[in-house]
C-alpha cells in the first residue's frame, strides 16, 4: 500500500511538470492553431537560464537566504523565457500566420531543433548534464513509511498554484477572454478592437513563463542537458493532446496522466518501454479520439 502511495506521489511530482509544460502547448494551439514544437526546447532553455542565474548569484553572495535566491531565479527564468518565446513568435511564426499550416509546423520543428543544437554547440552550455544548485533544502520526511521530500512538495504545490492562477487569468480577465475569443474565431476578433498580435504574444509569453516555473523546479530535482527538450517536451506534448489540445484543463489532466504512465510503466514492464507506452497511447488516441479527452470535435464544411 505504501509503495503505491509513494508512487502516486512521484507521479504527481512528474505529472505536475508535464502539466505545466503542456499548458504552453495548449495555449498556443488555442490562439494560433499551431503546435509549437519548439516549446519543449523553450522549457529546456528555461532550465539553463535558472542554472546560470542561480550559480552566478550564489557565486556573488552565497550567504543570501536561499528562498530569496529561489524566487529570484524563478522570476529571472520566467521573464527570460517569456522574452525568448515572444522573440521566436515575432521572428519565425508571425510571418507565417497566413501560410499553410504545414509551413508553420515545420518551422516550429526547425526552431526547436535549432535551440537544441545551438545549446550543444554553445561552449558555456555543452552537452554534458548538469544539476541546478539545491536552493531548497532537500529534506526528506518519512510519513507513515512514505518518503516525502521538500522538493516534491514544492513542485506539486507550486504547480497547483500556477494552474489555479492560470485558470483565473483565462476565465476572469480581459486578456484571458481575448485569448479564448481568438481561439474561437481568429478573423472577427480584430474587428472587435482586440489587438490580436499583442494577445498572441502575451499568450506565448504566458505559456513560456509557466513552462519556466516547471523548468526551474525540474532542474532542482533532476539533471538537465540540451536534449531534455525532446524527452520531456514530447511527453508534455502527448499530455496536451491526450487532454485535448486547445483545452487548458485538458492539459492539466493530460499532464497527470502522463506522469502516471511514466511512474507506473516500470512497475509492470521494463523501464525501457516507457517511450513505447507513451507514444502508443498517443497513436491510439489520435486514431480513435483525435480531439483528446476534453477536446472539441472539429467539423468540415463542403
Amino acid at each position: 500500500m505504501q509503495f503505491y502511495i509513494q508512487q502516486i506521489l512521484n507521479a504527481l511530482q512528474v505529472g505536475s511538470v508535464y502539466a505545466l509544460i503542456a499548458l504552453g502547448y495548449t495555449m498556443v494551439y488555442g490562439v494560433l492553431s499551431l503546435i509549437n514544437f519548439a516549446h519543449g526546447d523553450i522549457f529546456m532553455v528555461s532550465t539553463y537560464l535558472a542554472f546560470f542565474f542561480s550559480t552566478w548569484i550564489l557565486g556573488l553572495a552565497a550567504g543570501l537566504n536561499p528562498i530569496l535566491i529561489f524566487v529570484a531565479t524563478l522570476l529571472v527564468a520566467m521573464s527570460g523565457t517569456a522574452l525568448l518565446a515572444v522573440v521566436i513568435e515575432r521572428l519565425a511564426y508571425k510571418p507565417l500566420r497566413n501560410a499553410p499550416r504545414i509551413s508553420a509546423v515545420i518551422t516550429a520543428l526547425g526552431v526547436g531543433l535549432f535551440l537544441e543544437n545551438f545549446m550543444v554547440a554553445f561552449k558555456p552550455v555543452g552537452p554534458a548534464p548538469r544539476f541546478l544548485p539545491a536552493l531548497i533544502p532537500a529534506v526528506n520526511y518519512n510519513i507513515g513509511g512514505v518518503m516525502v521530500s521538500t522538493i516534491q512538495v514544492v513542485i506539486i504545490v507550486a504547480s497547483a498554484l500556477v494552474m489555479i492562477l492560470l485558470d483565473v487569468i483565462v476565465r476572469r480577465t480581459m486578456v484571458g477572454m481575448a485569448m479564448r475569443a481568438i481561439s474561437w474565431d481568429k478573423f472577427i476578433v480584430p474587428l472587435m478592437g482586440i489587438p490580436v498580435d499583442r494577445v498572441i504574444s502575451m499568450t506565448f509569453a504566458l505559456g513560456a513563463a509557466i513552462a519556466a516555473v516547471g523548468g526551474a523546479l525540474y532542474g532542482m530535482a533532476y539533471t538537465m542537458d540540451p536534449y531534455m527538450g525532446i524527452r520531456i517536451g514530447w511527453w508534455a506534448f502527448i499530455a496536451a493532446v491526450v487532454g485535448g489540445i486547445g483545452n487548458i484543463r485538458g492539459a492539466m489532466i493530460g499532464g497527470f496522466i502522463l506522469g502516471f504512465v511514466e511512474i507506473f510503466t516500470p512497475v509492470f514492464l521494463p523501464s525501457t518501454y516507457r517511450d513505447f507506452v507513451a507514444f502508443s497511447l498517443l497513436l491510439v488516441l489520435l486514431i480513435f479520439r483525435p480531439t483528446g479527452i476534453l477536446g472539441r470535435p472539429m467539423a468540415q464544411k463542403v
Binding site: 503546435i35 519565425a92 510571418p95 507565417l96 501560410a99 499553410p100 499550416r101 504545414i102 509551413s103 508553420a104 509546423v105 515545420i106 518551422t107 520543428l109 526547425g110 526552431v111 526547436g112 531543433l113 535549432f114 543544437n117 545551438f118 550543444v120 554547440a121 525532446i230 514530447w234 493532446v241 521494463p270 525501457t272 518501454y273 517511450d275 513505447f276 507514444f279 502508443s280 498517443l282 497513436l283 489520435l286 486514431i287 483525435p290 468540415q300 463542403v302
Partner: protein
C-alpha cells in the same frame, strides 16, 4: 531520324555509359575514398528525398517520421546479410536484401496509410512522429538486434555502382508513378481532397499506394545506409534524420523529382563543405547541426516551395507529357474533329 533517336534514347544511353565509371574510378583510386563516400551519401539522400517528396510534396501530407521507415529497411537488410546468408554470398544477395528492406518498410507504410484516411495536417504529423518514435523505441528494446547498442557486422556492400543503379531505378519508378493516373490522383488530393473524391479519385487507394511506395523507397535507402556504415543503431534514425529529409525536400522543391535531386545534392554537399570550413576556422563541428534547422526555418519563411517548387526538369518528364508532345496531340485533335464550339 537521328534527332528522334537521340531524343528518345539519349538520356538512357548516357546513363549506361557513365555506369562503368562508377565501378572503375573508385577502384583505381582516381576518386579518393572521401569523395566516393560523399557521392554515395548524395545518392542515398536523393532516394530519401524522393521518398519523402512523394508524401509531403506531391500529396501535401505531412510525414515527420520517415526515419522510421529508413530504420526498418536498414535493420531488415542487415539482418539478412549478417544472419541469414553467408558472407561470401554478400555481393549477390545485396539487391535482394535491399529489396527485402524496402518491402518491410513498405508494409510498415500501411501503418501510416490507414490513419491517414481520417486524419490530416498537424494531426497526421503527430501520428507519423509517434510512429517514428515507436520504431526507435521498439528497436531499443529488442536486445536480439542489439538494442540501444546497435547492430553491426555488415559488409561494406554499398558501392558507388550500387548507389548509382539504385538512384536511377528509384527515379525511373517514381517518375512513372508521378506521371500516371495515380500520380495525378496524388496531386489532386493535395489540391482538394474532397473535390478529388467527387471526380472519381479513390483517395484511399491513392493514399495507401503513396505511403507504401514512399516507405519502400526509404527502406531501400536505409539498406544502402546500413551497408555503408557497417553499423546501425536506433539513434541514427531519430527526428534529426527526419529533419534532414525535410530540409532536402523543401530546399529542392516540393512536388518535383528534379527538385529532390537538387535538394539532396545541395544539402549534402553544403554540410560536407561546412565540415571543411569549420575545420579551417577552428570552430567545433557541432555547429554544423545548427545549420539544418536554421535552413528549414528560413526556407519556410522565405521560399516554402523550394527551388523547383511544383516544376519539373524536361529530362525527367516523360516524352508524351512534354509541352511539344501535348501541343502535337492537341493540334491533331483540333484538325481532325471539327470543334463543336458551343460558345465562341
Amino acid at each position: 531520324m537521328k534527332r528522334i533517336f537521340w531524343k528518345r534514347w539519349g538520356l538512357p544511353l548516357i546513363l549506361v555509359l557513365v555506369f562503368p565509371f562508377t565501378i572503375v574510378l573508385p577502384k583505381l583510386g582516381i576518386i579518393n575514398p572521401y569523395v566516393n563516400l560523399v557521392l554515395k551519401y548524395v545518392g542515398i539522400n536523393i532516394i530519401l528525398t524522393v521518398s519523402l517528396n512523394l508524401v509531403n510534396g506531391y500529396m501535401g501530407e505531412f510525414s515527420v517520421g520517415h526515419a522510421g521507415f529508413m530504420a526498418i529497411g536498414a535493420y531488415t537488410a542487415s539482418l539478412l546479410t549478417v544472419w541469414v546468408f553467408p558472407h561470401a554470398a554478400g555481393p549477390f544477395i545485396f539487391p535482394l536484401a535491399l529489396l527485402a528492406g524496402g518491402i518491410a518498410a513498405g508494409i510498415a507504410g500501411l501503418g501510416i496509410a490507414f490513419p491517414s484516411f481520417r486524419t490530416r495536417g498537424d494531426y497526421l504529423a503527430i501520428v507519423t512522429l509517434a510512429f517514428g518514435m515507436i520504431v526507435k523505441s521498439v528497436l531499443e528494446n529488442l536486445d536480439v538486434v542489439g538494442g540501444p547498442r546497435g547492430f553491426m557486422g555488415m559488409d561494406k556492400l554499398t558501392s558507388l555502382a550500387w548507389v548509382y543503379i539504385c538512384v536511377i531505378l528509384v527515379i525511373f519508378l517514381a517518375r512513372n508513378y508521378v506521371f500516371s493516373n495515380f500520380g495525378r490522383g496524388v496531386v489532386s488530393i493535395r489540391e482538394d481532397e474532397t473535390a478529388s473524391e467527387l471526380v472519381s479519385v479513390n483517395s484511399r487507394q491513392v493514399k495507401v499506394l503513396t505511403f507504401v511506395f514512399s516507405a519502400f523507397l526509404a527502406g531501400i535507402a536505409g539498406g544502402l545506409f546500413a551497408h555503408e556504415l557497417q553499423f546501425i543503431n536506433p539513434r541514427s534514425f531519430t527526428i534529426l534524420k527526419s529533419t534532414d529529409m525535410l530540409v532536402m525536400v523543401y530546399l529542392g522543391g516540393i512536388g518535383s523529382l528534379g527538385g529532390s535531386i537538387l535538394g539532396a545534392t545541395v544539402y549534402t554537399l553544403t554540410l560536407e563543405g561546412l565540415r571543411t570550413v569549420l575545420q579551417q576556422l577552428g570552430i567545433s563541428q557541432e555547429w554544423r547541426l545548427v545549420v539544418a534547422p536554421l535552413m528549414l526555418v528560413l526556407l519556410m519563411i522565405f521560399r516554402p516551395r523550394g527551388i523547383m517548387g511544383l516544376r519539373e526538369f524536361r529530362f525527367l518528364t516523360p516524352h508524351d507529357e512534354r509541352p511539344e508532345a501535348l501541343a502535337e496531340h492537341r493540334k491533331q485533335i483540333q484538325a481532325t474533329k471539327r470543334a463543336k464550339e458551343v460558345l465562341p
